[in-house]
């Protein structure tokens, strides 16, 4: 089914299209939410919020961009709001510990124990470093590195100019390099 037809069915409120739509976009939405939250449960909660928002406000989608861009926009906003709320709650409960539970929850494949440890270490290190970035830099890195989106698409999703995206990614990579350099002992 083409994107236009999906949008039409969604706008008509045809409920049979929901499952099809979900199957088409869930991997994409979950990927962003997981990278943004670094936690499986929080990511799944955010995915539900994203789909409900899409179904409820599809009529506000003006079709001047790709449907995926609009969905990314919703996903990013929901995750940023959730993260802000979480930070506020952590601050109020005086709990400043980073929840990195989700970082080890990726599916295991056939690796040797040493490779497995190394793989999970690498994931922890990079995800941990990305999590410490300011929200905008973090979003730009996730959309560019993991979703492989163009600067133009990222600028639409984040509502900033192309040069801002370039600058955000530049600064994000400088910050990440400074953090990753510290781990040189582990892999030597």
């Amino acid at each position: 089914m083409e994107e236009k037809q999906i949008i039409e069915h969604l706008k008509n409120g045809d409920k049979f299209i929901y499952k099809y739509f979900y199957d088409q976009y869930v991997r994409m939405v979950y990927g962003v939410c997981f990278r943004m939250t670094s936690n499986k449960e929080e990511a799944e909660d955010a995915v539900q919020d994203v789909f409900i928002k899409v179904f409820n406000s599809i009529n506000s989608f003006r079709e001047d961009s790709k449907l995926s861009t609009w969905i990314y926009q919703i996903a990013v906003n929901i995750c940023i709001n959730k993260s802000r709320r979480k930070k506020a709650i952590n601050f109020l409960s005086l709990n400043f510990c980073e929840d990195e539970k989700g970082e080890n929850e990726m599916a295991a494949d056939s690796l040797t124990p040493r490779e497995e440890i190394e793989k999970s270490e690498i994931q922890k290190i990079v995800q941990g470093a990305i999590n410490t970035l300011p929200a905008k830099q973090k979003t730009a890195v996730i959309l560019s590195r993991y979703e492989e989106l163009s600067y133009k698409e990222i600028s639409k999703i984040m509502g900033v100019s192309l040069s801002s995206v370039e600058s955000l990614l530049f600064r994000a990579k400088e910050n990440l390099a400074k953090k990753l350099i510290r781990y040189k002992e582990i892999f030597q």
Binding site: R27, K40, Q48, I52
Partner: protein
């Protein structure tokens, strides 16, 4: 200071985000500096390996969770459905309360008949009634008519006890 400035650019260099002039500067430095070269190797490994790792997958139950949530939210936003739902809940509660009240009423009305004392009396009474019917006795007969025990009963009654 120069080393830190170079190291800061490593990820940009790996991803090919630097202009040609800066690329040349970094390559020159990496050829000269052993420490930075080692660090460059490590950071390249971390950055490239992590990129290759597979994307996490959502739980298969996620669709059902979403579906349930949407149904609940639709119920909340649809007053007619909410009214029907509430009416069903109210009806169920009324039926439950009615059954409990009826059970209490039945219990208080007929429960005393089922107490152990009453059960014992009624059984005794009905047993002796059966015995009398079986042997053709009247209500005041102590032993069946024509029974040999009649004389013994009369004698013992007169003597004030059973005697040999």
């Amino acid at each position: 200071m120069k080393h830190k400035k170079i190291q800061k650019k490593f990820l940009l260099y790996i991803d090919g985000d630097l202009p040609e002039s800066e690329k040349i500067l970094i390559e020159q430095h990496l050829n000269e500096c052993v420490t930075c070269n080692k660090q460059y190797e490590v950071i390249t490994k971390i950055w490239k390996e992590e990129r290759k790792l597979e994307q996490p997958l959502p739980s298969p139950a996620l669709w059902y969770d979403l579906k349930n949530r949407m149904e609940k939210e639709a119920e909340k936003s649809n007053p007619a459905r909410a009214i029907v739902g509430n009416a069903k809940l109210l009806l169920n509660s009324v039926i439950t309360v009615g059954v409990v009240v009826f059970a209490i009423f039945i219990g208080s009305k007929f429960g005393s008949l089922l107490s152990p004392q009453n059960i014992g009396q009624s059984v005794t009474y009905s047993q002796s009634e059966n015995n009398r019917d079986e042997f053709g006795m009247s209500y005041f007969d102590a032993v069946p008519p024509g029974s040999l025990a009649k004389d013994v009963f009369i004698n013992t009654a007169n003597d004030g006890g059973l005697q040999k």
